[in-house]
Symmetry: C2
Subunit: 334 residues, 2 copies
């Protein structure tokens, strides 16, 4: 029988209760320590992290979750800093997180967040946390998602989740945020081919940055992006993703950007899609984790481990059917 | 230990050996009976179907596998009939299959295949098989994929797999064919919004049908589709999906279409991508089946069945985290 809806009932010792209280009191050290606990691979740390998260859960959900993606060089850091400072001027508190499974490999721009966003990182109303260190995308994204919840419990009003778009990280970010924004450069034409498959369709909002450099190119890029978006059936019948132009460097267009994000939230909330999307995201996340767990168990089964390589090769060579191989492997679980 | 690469060693009785021999001898009755065996839900039939398939496998892989998708009204039947008759004129044998999980629900156009393609269905060099009856998309697609293999063993040179694009069926068809062709109508502009998310990216080739009706609209649609495709990063560095225009009704452009398909095959074969794609498809298919099997086992576990609904609701309401719920449910498998 279930003993309440909690999956693992929080069992907080004094130290962890202090973390919970500290996060709720908006103190930065307990916040950082809680995130470190979440990011730890140690089993005992993970159990503690779950308990702390469960205790914080009733206080989550209050932030606007904004996903930002774009290739290196598009000006993400400059944009996020300008946006963050603008939001702080409006009296809001801002957290900046990142999903970048390769950060420790590339030596990565993300690791240098605090250098990149110097003014923002020094502002007491801002909290910047680099991506969890390299691992599977699923693991990195899961930790970022849980960090987002902790930041919400710490009273941040806006959570910006950034990705440089390695692998499937855009999908992971779109699946944990309320609005997914794609930054583009104003070099229209052939360069737009650089948009990764499927990314345009994730976008709730497209931004052409560096609009100050070449007005004509910006206008062309905007028109082309509008055409491309126009071809796609929008995710919501109530929202056609707009294409904005701005210059993060000159801080032009930032207010317009935020007004559009607020319009989106208002429109989606009115139709009920805002809450529905969050519910759907949480459930989909649970199933992703279940699928990953089932596959890990499957792969660790001794007979599966010994037979899988040979069977996979036989399937690739067309010597056995995918279904016969799948059945044989699944049979070992009986 | 593995006893050869076969997952389930073929154990053919005389009747099933007759099916194998009949299929190999290109006889239509054994072909149809084998497909019926594959489509059967009975456990004993499924075991026999697997054995027959394994025996036929060494003789598969020889056909060009062509996926065709497009909304109702785009003229798929007319196009497939025109294409099929053209190919038969060139001395080729053609099989037409379908993936349509909803066919028995809609009463469906697919069920009426033989009426729709009257000339083709009467031609001895053609074989038309409607979609397996309704079920999960995965099940329907799996049976169509195995039917495709049987048709290859029966010496068909071209297998056309059609879908009306219900749910995710386009992805399923793209994942079992060598080239995925998207049919479009020449009404440019707003109507292009009707293209489902993600479909454009699956297309190796886009065709504007009914080009005879309105030349100007056809030209506009072609230009718009080219722009849209241009925005997407192509799946292969060696192939940019072209946009053809034709009139299936007037049998104009059919030869051009087939020449393009042959160009595609030649280009992909030269780069090694043709075989690599087939190997990848087979392996991905195996993993899809494994994942589906693991999920089915998971869902049927007594404690998972009793707790899943309540936990899923708690996740949706934000009362527990996706990871805590997933861990708790997975724990029951220990």
């Amino acid at each position: 029988m279930l003993n309440g809806p909690q999956a693992l009932p929080p069992q907080l010792d004094a130290a962890d209760q202090a973390l919970v209280d500290g996060v709720r009191a908006r103190q930065l050290r307990p916040l950082a320590k809680t995130i470190t606990l979440i990011e730890s691979q140690r089993t005992d740390h993970q159990a503690r992290a779950h308990a702390v998260l469960e205790a914080l859960l009733p206080h989550t959900g209050g932030a606007m979750r904004v996903g930002i993606s774009g290739v290196p060089g598009v000006g993400k850091s400059t944009f996020i800093e300008a946006l963050g400072l603008y939001l702080i001027e409006q009296g809001l508190r801002v957290a900046v997180l990142a999903v970048d499974p390769s950060s420790s490999l590339t030596g990565g721009s993300i690791l240098g967040d605090k250098t990149r966003m110097e003014l923002l990182s020094q502002n007491p109303a801002a909290f910047i946390r680099p991506s969890p260190s390299a691992g599977s995308l699923g693991g990195v994204a899961e930790k970022t998602r849980e960090t987002m919840l902790v930041c919400e419990a710490a009273g941040f009003d806006v959570i910006i989740v950034e990705t440089v778009g390695v692998g499937q990280s855009e999908t992971a970010v779109a699946n944990m945020t309320d609005i997914f924004c794609l930054l583009q450069l104003p070099n229209a034409g052939d360069d737009l081919q650089g948009i990764k498959k499927g990314i345009m369709e994730l976008a709730d909002l497209v931004v052409v940055n560096k609009a100050d450099i070449d007005v004509a190119a910006t206008t062309r890029a905007q028109a082309q992006l509008k055409t491309a978006l126009h071809m796609l059936r929008p995710a919501s019948p109530n929202w056609s993703p707009p294409v904005l132009t701005l210059s993060a460097l000159r801080k032009q267009g930032i207010a317009d950007f935020w007004r559009t994000v607020c319009d989106y939230r208002a429109t989606m909330s009115k139709s009920g899609e805002f809450d529905a999307k969050r519910r759907h995201q949480a459930l989909a996340w649970m199933w992703d984790l279940i699928d990953a767990g089932l596959r890990a168990r499957f792969r660790s089964h001794p007979q599966v481990r010994s037979e899988l390589p040979e069977l996979a090769e036989a399937v690739e060579r067309g010597e056995t059917t995918p279904s016969a191989a799948a059945l044989r492997l699944l049979h070992h679980l009986n």
